[in-house]
Subunit: 192 residues, 2 copies
DNA sequence: AACGAAACCTACCGCTCTACAGGTAATGCG
DNA sequence: CGCATTACCTGTAGAGCGGTAGGTTTCGTT
């Protein structure tokens, strides 16, 4: 059982860490990253602020863990995807406002100077754009309306997804995010 | 000269205030609203933090002034506008990254709970969407592709503008914001 | 049972922030 | 000139922040 017990300890530790990350997601959603305090996150998991620093030695380290969590959870698009899977993704997002709020808040902050998530978002956009271009090419070939290429359309697709999220977060009753996204897809679907 | 002198005093005061607002715009662009300190703004206009509070009694009052400044400067779309004016607006924006950065950072923060700019952005979106719908109707009538109405297309137009700004701010060399926006407009221009 | 490491805690440091209180010098008006 | 207002300043209160130092308890391993 010795090995098993060792695993248990490691597993408990890993569970604690992901508990903390989940709490951090919530607090960031409510107050942004700069506005989030380690104390508030710690309180939510029944720790003192210093107890939390045992798991993540700095506030930035906690943010890194939050961003890594996202990378696992929210995969970058790949050519296997079809565009109706994108629509489902947006529908899925509409059921998880807290997560969307977290990353919309982080994205907004990230454009400020020296923000610790800036590089993350910049690189992520690069990956997501090229992934989206591949999805578009797999779906439509190069037959996009008006001679648009997948590479030129991908930034628009990404912009629509992000931009709709802000409108929806600020006024969910007035903005039908999944519907609007499907509307956008129909613009791409017609023969060019 | 008595009346004129009185005016001079009032004018000087108003100039000082707008100097402060301009500095606040810069600091918010660099650090966001929550990250911006009154001291940093004050320093930029050669005042102490307490001297700045003589003009704006609280930090929130300064933010309100910043948002009002924007309302004057960046008018809500009206039906007189044509869509190529929108394209010019995006081109103009691309020449003023600092302003875009300020309001992109504020928009991101505004989705967090109890943020003082939240109502402002929510109401602004409502106005802008209906303004955009009017612009679209004036330009295309109801002949938008795939039976889309101007009201359903307006949120997409707004989303593209906002979403492109984030991609562009994070990676200006990879994202041709005005070009991408024009690409989007061509999607609307073809017969449906 | 003994030991080392992991998982916390209390105490505290130094800094930054908004805002209030109260003073003073300059300015413009009657 | 005298007075009120404006335009600042210094001083400080009061709170919150991230992070360090160092202790103690719990726990798995040997």
């Amino acid at each position: 059982m010795s090995y098993g017990d060792a695993m248990n300890a490691r597993v408990r530790s890993a569970e604690r860490r992901s508990e903390i990350v989940r709490a951090a997601l919530e607090v960031i959603a409510e107050r942004g990253y700069r506005g989030a305090s380690l104390g508030a996150v710690a309180e939510r998991v029944g720790l003192t602020q210093q107890g939390l620093l045992h798991y993540f030695p700095t506030k930035d380290a906690l943010l890194v863990a939050v961003l890594e969590e996202r990378d696992q959870w929210d995969a970058v698009p790949n050519p296997q995807w079809r565009v109706d899977l994108l629509a489902s993704l947006v529908e899925y997002n509409a059921m998880r406002p807290a997560i969307i709020q977290t990353f919309s808040a982080l994205l907004g902050e990230s454009v400020t100077e020296g923000h610790p998530a800036r590089d993350y978002f910049a690189e992520r956009y690069t990956r997501v754009r090229s992934g989206m271009a591949a999805v578009l090419r797999a779906e439509y070939g190069d037959r996009l309306p008006n001679g648009l290429t997948p590479e030129r359309t991908a930034p628009l697709l990404v912009a629509v997804m992000d931009g709709l999220q802000y409108q929806w977060l600020l006024d969910p009753e007035s903005v039908d995010m999944p519907g609007a996204f499907r509307d956008f897809l129909t613009l791409l679907g017609e023969e060019g």
